[in-house]
Subunit: 324 residues, 2 copies
């Protein structure tokens, strides 16, 4: 099959990849559409070691599911952590933290920028008929945004600042807005802030942050400047959610964390069910986030485009797969 | 009056200090005994800018309390944050985070290594008669240890690792042991670990830490090695409490915090009432922590002694004050 291949810090399109064979309990999924995430860009930059097919945001159709034939032909999205079900983390209910997990397109499992992928059947979620592929492909990042609310109780009395107006910051802001909290998004891009303002969300430039203005701040930038802005926005005894991956070590003033008794919360993958429901109910708008679509044979260019400053979501279509 | 004076990074004994005058709502306290904390040592090292009399762990006797004469002559300890009662932090109930606070011996208020100090009457706690000065002087650090339990729910099912066997680590361990949690203290000093083992607390050297063994870890070292050990001990979705002050910026791998969804909790001052009760009920043993006592006129030597590796609590006696 054809697919994108990452090795070292180079990606290239290959036509000689073996189509994956589902192991017991797994389904073979023909990928329809996949999204490029910042984590993919960081994999290419070498921030994590991974050799294989990247990609973890996708929508596709089940080609075969031995032993679970009811899934065959269904349009699906899939949770990206494949867990063992038996380690202490799994038995304690923390399956996304399975000690032996593979992660689609990130850790020891080929991902979505290819014609086919495999995932455990238990990871699959059927996509409602009224939901387009273009919306369903946002299920994974939207679920990640919702993880914040799995971890921290947020209500209408809470003043929340989101730092970062990119594709993750946008989804985080849209989901937090649903809590009724007093929300402000801080960003640097007029166009991206306008998308949020268009949904009635207050926005501001970095210099508008007032020290301690927020009960909670979410850093969606993954860079030290964003962390510092979010840190400055949080009041003493407030909560600072780290929603983005950080490259390398950060030089942080931990004394201020202690003196102000700040709680830092690392936040990763979240619940797919609620994410699909929000998309199906049109309570989150993802269409304006799509800046470009590329066919699989131009996937390397798609990565270049996604890495350009200011670009939001870039999608890759496996059109050739559909013809195969 | 006589007192220790910190200016730049030099401390010296002065005999020409003006005795403080209590402002409205404040009491004048004649200091009996004061303890040297690591924060005091860090002030001398210049980690925080402070000019004045250091010292925030004390027991003393109220000399005068205009408008609150019922306090006169009482033996007291005192909460160290003097708050305004009117700022947003105060009115929200976070008085230790008052935006205009002074902090005894740390921020804009002369401290306890002198014959007299002043504090708001509302900061004072009467010392039960059955509690010695030598025990009561530990109220402030014991309260700081108890702050952890104000912030994080800990029970008998929780596996907890305390990193650091110094005076703060010891108090943190003794208070955590009262929760019934499965507790291990990691340290490097045979004598200090033996103090804990003598109270039935499991101890180990740093190389005994197993990755992810704990639901919660508390770093009481304030150094990057201690942080890394505590971080390694915490399982995914576990809690890492930062209980010590950190000098300068720390180079931290925040990606692991995100990927493992760790919660970091900065922890500072805690409740005096429960600390006094634990001391009065002899549920915490502080006597073995006292390594040396110095009279005020040798207070500079006391600081040198407290800074020596392996030394636990050093106390300073204001004996001359008693004679004054």
């Amino acid at each position: 099959m054809r697919g994108l291949w990452l090795e070292g810090q180079a990606i290239r399109l290959r036509g000689d990849l073996a189509a994956p064979a589902p192991r017991p309990g797994e389904a073979l999924v023909r990928v329809t559409l996949a999204g490029i995430c910042n984590t993919d860009l960081e994999l290419v930059r070498g921030y994590y070691p991974f050799t294989g097919v990247p990609g973890h945001e996708f929508v596709g159709r089940v080609e075969s599911a031995p032993g679970a034939e009811e899934w065959q032909g269904r349009r699906v999205v899939g949770e990206i952590n494949a867990s063992c079900g038996q380690c202490p983390a799994c038995t304690a209910g923390r399956r996304t933290h399975c000690e032996r997990r593979t992660v689609l397109g990130i850790v020891n499992r080929n991902g979505a920028f290819a014609e086919y992928l495999t995932l455990p059947v238990e990871n699959l979620h059927a996509v409602p008929d009224n939901l387009s592929d273009e919306a369903a492909v946002f299920t994974e990042p939207l679920a990640a945004a919702l993880e914040i609310q799995e971890q921290v109780k947020i209500g209408p009395a809470d003043r929340v600042v989101v730092v970062g107006d990119g594709k993750l910051g946008n989804l985080v802001a849209q989901t937090l807005a649903l809590t009724g909290c007093v929300l402000t998004v801080i960003g640097r891009h007029r166009r991206k802030l306008a998308l949020l303002a268009g949904r009635g969300i207050a926005t501001g430039l970095p210099d508008s942050i007032r020290q301690g203005q927020a009960d909670m701040a979410v850093d969606c930038t993954g860079n030290p400047e964003g962390f510092d802005l979010a840190r400055a926005a949080v009041r003493p005894r407030g909560t600072l959610v780290l929603k983005s991956t950080y490259a390398g070590k950060q030089a942080l003033d931990m004394s201020r964390i202690v003196v102000d008794e700040i709680t830092l919360v690392g936040s990763r993958c979240g619940p797919f069910g609620p994410a699909l429901a929000l998309l199906a109910e049109r309570r989150v708008d993802v269409a304006p986030l799509v800046d470009a679509r590329f066919p699989l044979h131009d996937a390397v260019e798609a990565f270049d485009e996604a890495a350009r400053p200011g670009v939001l979501k870039v999608l890759v279509e496996m059109e050739a797969a559909a013809k195969a």
